[in-house]
């Protein structure tokens, strides 16, 4: 049974009322949606943004940094559902309550919008509603790919697939700066930190990548990495 002894209880200092504004730019929820006023807000590393089960008062758009979402079992086992990067929308729930906890992986800046305003806008503007539908569909797509990884892939395949995901969201050139710890990666991939570490080592000795510091990875052989990731093909 997997247990996290380092069950860091995060500080909960989140907006019960509308958050104090640090800057106050008026930004659209997404391109072509200029109407909704948003407020910039920042979080420091490991700070909780919202908790599972809390009423979903706000919708969040990443400006900078990285955040993770997760679910917990009562004994501390954790499953990270997703990492979100600048430009991503998250916390956009139907049904009033957040279904995962969101925390900052690094110091992060977001723009927050009132969920009610967002839904009201969608209710009278079909284009906005379609856009939100498309965003949910994209998240669903990612989740279904993740199901295959968690249900059926080996440790090395999971780590290879993860690195390809990160490479796709990185500046390009094959050099990846991982913003998250091994624990975050392990909890995302359904493994332990030791197994993740061993998989990195295996991929390195197979010549697929080179590590320069624990967080910096050079992809040497993308084709080999894709092969090891066992991408689906039906």
């Amino acid at each position: 049974m997997l247990m996290h002894t380092t069950a860091t209880q995060r500080t909960r200092a989140r907006p019960q009322s509308f958050p104090v504004r640090t800057h106050a730019p008026i930004q659209g929820l997404f391109a072509g949606c200029p109407e909704l006023p948003g407020v910039r807000f920042t979080y420091s590393r490991d700070e909780e943004i919202y908790g599972e089960g809390e009423p979903a008062e706000f919708v969040y758009k990443m400006v900078s940094g990285v955040i993770r979402t997760h679910k917990l079992l009562s004994d501390g086992r954790r499953q990270v559902g997703a990492f979100h990067f600048p430009g991503d929308l998250f916390g956009c729930e139907r049904g009033g309550a957040h279904r995962l906890t969101a925390e900052a992986v690094t110091d992060a800046a977001v723009v927050v919008y009132r969920r009610r305003s967002c839904e009201a806008l969608a209710a009278r503007d079909a284009a906005v509603a379609c856009r939100l539908w498309a965003l949910a569909a994209r998240d669903l797509d990612r989740a279904e790919e993740h199901l295959l990884l968690l249900g059926r892939k080996t440790a090395v395949e999971r780590v290879a697939a993860f690195l390809l995901q990160m490479a796709a969201r990185s500046p390009a050139g094959g050099s990846i700066e991982l913003p998250m710890t091994r624990r975050d990666i392990a909890d995302y991939l359904g493994l332990t930190i030791e197994t993740v570490s061993r998989a990195f080592s295996q991929l390195q000795s197979a010549g697929a990548l080179h590590r320069s510091g624990a967080r910096r990875v050079q992809v040497r052989d993308p084709a080999a990495l894709r092969e090891m990731a066992e991408q689906e093909l039906s």
Copy 2:
């Protein structure tokens, strides 16, 4: 490495053109959406409804029976993403291509709608778009719960959670008729058929359930079952 020796290649006899109509009721896509014409269509057990990667020409609403959706790896490993029951909408993709394969678990009847018509309707009716958004969000919710199960739960926990899901979709009374095989259950839960079978046996000797025939399960002690499912609690 898990391999399916029984990689039953399903017959592919699916509508390239609009399917032959068996009956022709005009039904709404969902309650309060009367405009879209749908056509009833039936599939027999194990028949493919659509394949992963195929253009998504239609959207499907379950009338009777049960269907499953899945992804495959190149070596035959399979992950079942979901089972769909009467009333469920499925195959409703954004982006033009189906992301999983859909097959009939039992003989099944559906009503199909043209995806383009459905999207066109959403584009001019915000209420419809919001409804479709809500449906995608519900699917996402289920998928995220499934991630936790696949990433972090033990075999017995997975099977207990699965039975609770099935019980929730069954007529009530604690008696469940499972429409799918052990292989389907195993591929849904990221396990093997043998492990699923052993988990059933364990739950039975723990007094949580009673089996009368492989497909018929009586839930004896729902509380114990919920306990064994280790439902999340953060």
